[in-house]
Structure formats: structure tokens, C-alpha cells
Amino acid sequence: MIKLLRVDHRLLHGQVAFSWTQYLGVDSILIANDDVPNNELRKTTIKLAKPQGVKLVIKNIEDSIKAIKSGVTDKYKLFVVVESVNDAKRLISQCSEIKKVNLGGIKSKEGTRNISKAINLLPEEEKLIKDMLDEGVEVEIRQVPGDKKINASSIIKI
């Protein structure tokens, strides 16, 4: 069962490892990213940051979709972390099991709009989020579980 999908450009780090994993009560984390499986330094760093007692699986987006669709992840309480809205959309459009998305950290770059603390979106990313909302996915903005939950639907302007 997929408890949550988080978008965070830092992928697995303190807030994710310590706060979210415990708050969600998950037993497994999937890092879905096309760069990490081929980037030894990034991969090792993520593996070393793994919280104790939790399974950590790293796969590219396509293999992540295959794993989720095959049913091998069903027995886990799974927390999926991706680094971009685009990657989130790729997973969501293939995996109807994903019902909840958390926006945790998206870096500002040229053309982005700061919509909340630590969340900066390009117009096309706002559009993708609008699509997710239209498909009935709950999208919320929250860095750590104790923060106030902001519904993306109240902020997305498109």
C-alpha cells in the first residue's frame, strides 16, 4: 500500500528519514529517480542516510512503475519519494494506487513562482499539479508532519 508520494529535490534526508517515516509508520521507502541508480556517489549517500528498520529501494521511474504495478509492493507500507513534479506525474499517471502527494521541497529556478516556503513551481508544473487534482489525487504542501497542511488546490492558480 502506498501511504504517500513526496516531491523533494533532496530525496532522502533528515526530514524524510526521521519525521515522515515515523509519522507515516511506513516499513519501506522507494526512491524513484532516473539519475540516482547510475550515480554511485548519490546512491551511496542515500543508502547511508537510511533510517533503521526500514527497507530502502532505489529504482528509476520506469522500474518503479513496473514494481508498483506488479504487486510486489502491496505487502509494504510504502513511502515513495521523487525529486520533481514531473516524476510524480509520471508515476501517478501509471499507478492509480497513488492517492496522496506531498510537496516537500522544490528549488527555485528561472521562471518559477514561490507558492509556499520551499516550494517553487514553473507554470507547467502548476499545470501538472492541476491535472493531479482533477484526477482526484490529494496534493498537499508540508515540509514536516507537524506543519500546517496547505492544500495545493487553494494555491494553484491555473
Binding site: F18, L41, L48, K55, V57, G146
Partner: protein, 139 residues
């Protein structure tokens, strides 16, 4: 209930709390003492006032900055009160371990022992581990 107190020479405690809150969110069970920032400062008095606010059935876990320092030495004097637990050598992973392991089912001494063990393991010379082979996990 367990209360926590971070006690340091100067502002380390406040800075550490700021970092803890960035990672774990706000926590109302923690207070801080930043000692000796003013010339007429009395640590003993400030500690007494913290203790007087702890309920009879509550416990206070004090985390001091450095063993052998005067802040820790002053806190040692409080150990006659068995509601007080004192840990020296404040650091971020220690405090995060304490908060994430803390629950009603674990005894205070087990909580502290476990947090100390886990956080000591995260003090590392990273150059020596970055080339470690860690096996990939699968579902």
C-alpha cells in the same frame, strides 16, 4: 511526561533547537538554557526555576554541551532528584534520536541508552565510508 532541557555555554542550545525544529517540526517539550551570556548570570538559579516547573510525576532529561564543563557540572548537582536525567555531549543526532524514539512504552533509561548508542554511531569520518559497498535492496 518527559520534558527536555538543552543547556549550553552561550547560544548552542538555541541554535540546536532551531535545527531540531527544522527537521522534526515544533516541539513544546523542549526548553533551552544559554548560560553566561550576561555578566551577572546565575546558572544555579535558572536551573532551579526549570526544576520547580516540573510536575511531581514528570521527568526532565537535560542535555548539556560538554562533559566536564561548568554547565554540566552544575547539572550534576541536580541528580539527587531522581526525576532528573543528565546526558553530556549535545549534538543534533542525539537530540533527534531521543525525540524519535520517545514513546510511553520505553523507560527513560532505555530511551537514553538507545539514543546514545545510535547517535554515537552517526559520528563518522565520511571519507572512509563513501566507498563502502552497500547491497541494493529489493521488494
Amino acid at each position: 511526561m518527559r520534558q527536555y532541557l538543552l543547556a549550553s555555554h552561550g547560544s548552542l542550545s538555541e541554535g540546536l533547537l532551531d535545527s531540531v525544529e527544522m527537521i522534526l517540526g515544533k516541539n513544546h517539550k523542549i526548553s533551552t538554557i544559554s548560560a553566561y551570556k550576561k555578566g551577572d548570570y546565575d546558572l544555579n538559579e535558572q536551573l532551579k526555576s526549570v526544576i520547580s516547573n516540573i510536575d511531581k510525576d514528570d521527568e526532565l532529561i537535560i542535555i548539556s554541551d560538554i562533559f566536564g564543563g561548568s554547565v554540566n557540572n552544575e547539572c550534576m548537582k541536580l541528580l539527587a532528584d531522581d526525576r532528573v536525567h543528565l546526558i553530556s555531549g549535545m549534538n543534533l543526532s542525539l537530540v533527534i534520536e531521543l525525540f524519535t524514539l520517545d514513546n510511553d512504552k520505553i523507560s527513560t533509561s532505555d530511551l537514553i541508552k538507545k539514543a546514545l548508542k545510535d547517535s554515537k554511531e552517526s559520528i563518522l569520518y565520511c571519507n572512509n565510508i563513501i566507498n563502502e559497498e552497500i547491497e541494493d535492496e529489493e521488494f
